[in-house]
Amino acid sequence: MSRETQGIDSMASDDGATERIRALAVRTWRTFVDVFEGDRMGQIGLALLLIFALMGMFGPWITPHDPTEINRDDDGSALRLEAPSTDHYFGTTNMGRDVFSQVIVGARASLIVGTIAALIAVTIGTNIGLISAYYGGWTEDVLMRITDIAYALPFLPFVIVLVFLLGPSIWSIIIVIALLLWRSTARVVRSQVLSHKERPYVESARAVGASDLRIMYLHILPNVLPLAFLYAAFSVAWAVIAEANVSFLGFGDPTMISWGQMLFEAYTADAIRFAWWWVVPPGVSIMLLVMAAFFIGRTLERVTNPELRHAE
């Protein structure tokens, strides 16, 4: 690991490398804009994501009520399980809390878990795929067997055990999800790198005297990066679902309101059968966020697969 980080540092200090990375970023951005311009679904995805992102960032300041406050009527008794009204758009919970405000604040947990877990997972997965495919031999054997083991882990039992061990916090949920999500990226990136490393440009880079690290991170990685982005987008969707799952089962971060947790509370309060105003908003929010991530992923797929772009 130290050898690798050292290599990356030395590459970063090389101004040719930073220059190339900058040029590459500009190019990627242009393709990104091009592809989204012609794709309505991708635009819807981006718009939804933007709304959720604003909710996540400014949630606590834009809610009509404090989401943890117990709302009371004029004679001081709590407004338990009130149906939607002009005062409480989505009604109240069994504790008299405002559902609408909770939905807005809940976006933050989903977004944090979704993006950070996906980012960690894709970073791990891309590196493992790249290193194992490039070096081959026992390195590949070891890394791919670890990937197989990760594939064999059953999701829920693994999450329950680890969250129990690490303690119920949003960070342990992120770690657990990342530990399970990197596997698919690793496999897909690996197969892509296997094909790229045999291409003539890699051989000529080697002939010119490029080091292994340079070939891996400056030649092969940029060529497989679009695929990694695609997997990042899908990973966000999976991570959001996973977070909702975990919270619904009661293993969520107790200090943070999340959509999964709202469903869990509705369930434990025995209100899930009739208090539709308490159940539908978080459920639909999860669905919309996952949909947004999938729409974006679907559009990104067109970046990685030019055939889809030219099909129309």
Partner: protein, 338 residues
Amino acid sequence: MSKLELDDLRTYYRMEEGWIEAADGVSLSLEANETLGLVGESGSGKSTVAKSIIRLLPDNGEIVDGSIRFDGEDITELSKRELRRRIRWKEISMIPQSAMNGFDPVYTVGEQIVQAIRTHESDVSKAEARERTKELFDDLGLDEERVDDYPHQFSGGMAQRAMIALALAVDPSVILADEPTTALDVVIQDRILGTIKEMQDELGTAMVLITHDMSVVSETCDTIAVMYGGRVVERADAETIIKRPKHPYTLGLRNAFPDITADSQELVSIPGSPPDLLEPGEGCRFAPRCPFAEDRCWEETPQPETHGDGHVVECHRADEAEYLRKEANRPETWRTDD
């Protein structure tokens, strides 16, 4: 002292079934400014020899014996890292077989050449490297503005030239050109070979030209080495190989190419297929396809022998060359009964 000297080079590929003897006792030498043509059919070990020199062999390839002397220093002894730092590109560069795909698609061609220059000459500034790249483009008949284009914006011939620019970027003393013009049409091929030749004369660079095209070597090379089944079966100066070859394989190879000055001419190919190099054992490797094979050809491996001025032949019957040459000219000789 020769610029590059291969002595009894043996490069084998490890397979589950045993060793593939892809280059088996190859001896060659190359002087400064000389062009050596390495000819032979596919699978004869030409590329293996080139890849052994700058050690770009696949993982299962191994130099098991012999030496490669560059300016007198045995570079097979160098560590991979040292070879990469000191020899690759700086001293010995390569024009790969498929130049068309030889550039990384995500960077401009200019960026890649500049990077190559700066990797090997750290004191060169970016602007200088870019300037030099433009000059190279100009020398090779490419528009200077094209340095900012991506590889896919180049045509085959242009990509090939850009690859040559890359190979010449740091003034190497030896260029290994592995079928540099195979995918190109004859006109472009001629121009590219002409350009390489000019650059070579200007810089005094030596070149190993690997090809299976006899007409290309006869035009460009000073000396020719003919490879068959992992061995150099005959080598001499170009004229001798073209006009007075002694090895039956070279004779056959010559028959397979048309002479455009002659009247209608029947092209005669060599019957059979290239040998299996998986532990071939004793005997001449060409014997199964050779119309002149005798009993001893099957039993003893012929050793390289010098016949006259630097003309090295590996054939038991090289002394009877006059007779063989006459026979080889008759198409019936190469016809198999079955």
